[in-house]
């Protein structure tokens, strides 16, 4: 077994591009679910909108990338309004149903033949829409150390991506510790009580939906730019549920939990995969048990087992407070 290689792969993934994408998706969900109690099961839709919004305007209309970012933010605000206006006055479950459906609608529209010309159908969009971004890359070569390895483009994405995560987390930390954040947490506990104190709950839930959605769509920006391509099927329900996994791993309603959750998530996935792969190729794991082609599935099975263990032994997540979780039972 090449432990140095395993370490390098695992550590690079732990702070890598995917971790950033999932952290951003989960930060948005933390706003929705952790702080406001909104069940948004369509976070993938926000990421898809972010991703397509940077690719399509640049490729099809020659719009500068910086304006495409603004278009992406604008589009995700519109998407949040479309989801929120009909559902936020209703019971919590309606938002859950509508968001899960809406995210699928986004994906189906993106991959439909009708809009093939702009959205690329099921193949998605591949092209150099990120060239304005990579033109700013000061690194001529990548990073190649025994424990971390990124090519030049990925290094640039990782550095800008973590900067984005840091700025968003900092602003979020201020907001959730303000009276505004208190109001959000109060809505999570009991909307009717908050209404009786003269607060317009609907307006605040809409703000939460928009803010969390926009943060999610910035995850879509990173997703699209890092790959220089957008594939509709990457934005399915699995993405949303992985983002929830990340959030719950870290512990909901804690500012740092999406970051740590995403790091643990990708650490485990890549670590398990590398161990299995090396085990199989070095004949430490017999062929009849796991074949090379099964490694991809089996890592998710083991991941699932690990998550179950976490929920049993530490249901509050890494940062959560067990006492606080117990209060959830509405004594």
């Amino acid at each position: 077994m090449d432990f140095l290689f395993i370490t390098q792969q695992t550590l690079s993934a732990t702070i890598g591009v995917n971790t950033i994408i999932f952290a951003l998706a989960a930060i948005g969900l933390n706003m929705h679910f952790g702080y406001t109690g909104l069940l948004n099961f369509g976070q993938a839709g926000f990421l898809a909108i972010g991703a397509y919004s940077v690719a399509v305007p640049v490729i099809s209309f020659g719009i500068p990338l910086w304006i495409a970012f603004l278009i992406g933010i604008f589009n995700s605000i519109i998407f949040a309004l479309l989801l929120g206006i009909p559902t936020l006055r209703l019971r919590a479950d309606y938002l859950a149903i509508v968001t899960i459906a809406a995210a699928e609608i986004v994906r189906q529209i993106a991959r439909s033949a009708t809009f093939n010309e702009f959205l690329g159908g099921s193949d998605g969009i591949t092209g150099k829409f990120g060239k304005d971004f990579f033109a700013l890359n000061p690194f001529k070569s990548g990073l190649d150390t025994p424990i971390l390895r990124f090519n030049a483009n990925d290094l640039w994405v990782v550095i800008t991506g973590w900067t984005l995560v840091a700025v968003i987390t900092f602003v979020m930390w201020i907001m959730v510790n303000s009276p505004w954040g208190r109001l959000m947490r109060a809505i999570r506990e009991d909307e009717d009580a908050v209404r009786s104190l003269g607060k317009n709950v609907y307006l605040y839930k809409m703000q939460s939906l928009i803010i969390g959605g926009v943060i999610g769509s910035t995850g879509g920006f990173v997703y699209a730019l890092s790959r220089q391509s957008v594939q509709p099927d990457n934005y399915g329900t699995a993405l949303t549920f992985f983002a929830y996994t990340v959030l719950i791993l870290g512990g909901a309603a804690r500012v740092f939990s999406p970051i740590v959750g995403a790091m643990i998530f990708w650490f485990l996935i890549v670590f398990i995969e590398q161990i299995l792969r090396q085990g199989v190729t070095n004949d430490l794991i017999p062929d009849w048990l796991i074949g090379v082609n099964q490694v991809g599935q089996i890592r998710f099975m083991l991941m699932g087992l690990g998550l179950m263990a976490l929920m049993i032994f530490r249901p509050q997540g890494i940062f959560g407070d067990k006492k606080e979780l117990a209060l959830d039972a509405k004594a």
Binding site: A186, D192, A193, V194, S196, K323, D328
Partner: protein
Amino acid sequence: MQKPKSADANFALTTSPTPGSAKSDPILIADKITRQFGGLTAVNVDHLEIQRGSITALIGPNGAGKTTFFNLLTGYDSPNSGTWSFNGKNLNGIPPHKVARLGMVRTFQLTKALYRLTVIENMALGARNQKGESVLRSVFPWIWRAQEAEIRARATEILRNFKLLEKQDDFAAALSGGQRKLLEMARALMVEPEMIMLDEPMAGVNPALKQSLLEHIKELRTEGKTVLFVEHDMDMVHEISDWVIVMAQGEVIAEGTPASVMGNEQVIAAYLGAHHNEDLSANLEGA
């Protein structure tokens, strides 16, 4: 027993003790309000006025429609028919948060403490016009810090009165049932309402604390506030209310001073008809 200090101190003496009677200075007027749940008419109030600056009790057997009536008045439920106004402003179709902003704040029979907020956070939430509750200004703490300090100071004062100060940093979920009732009432006061509507404020509160709570409620009247409360505890009704309204099967069947209402045969019959509670009837007859 302390004499009422309402705007019109004689209102209890000069008002006719008949259901739906006119008050000299009504703050709340309800007209022909009905609410049906399927075939059941839960509320059917023909006319009702609440005197400004008074403490009015709303009593009646279980299922009489008191809570439903509260829900209708505060916008949590909509009536099948009827109109009502607060301070002369029509409240039909006004959502709960706007009702509260107009100065009519209610509490809930099933307590709604915000469990995973601390006691002091529950309190601070009640304050009006908070700069830090605006999404944009929340990002700049120096804009709202001073106001937040004032709010907390006021919250601390009220918590001290309600004997909850030692609990201020505990989660509301860690309070006992009675303490949650107290917290909810204290939080409603943070809104600085003109009229406060309490749905069974004394349920589960121990006798010693009950006494001091009664004093706080009387104090509200001294400050010129109007109190409307639902209560099954007849001692409390008798001790602090200027006026009592009795509901049974959705209708107002009697109103008047505590003494006159509790001697009313119709009222006793309504209670006995609803459930044979010896204690209660003894209470009523003793009055």
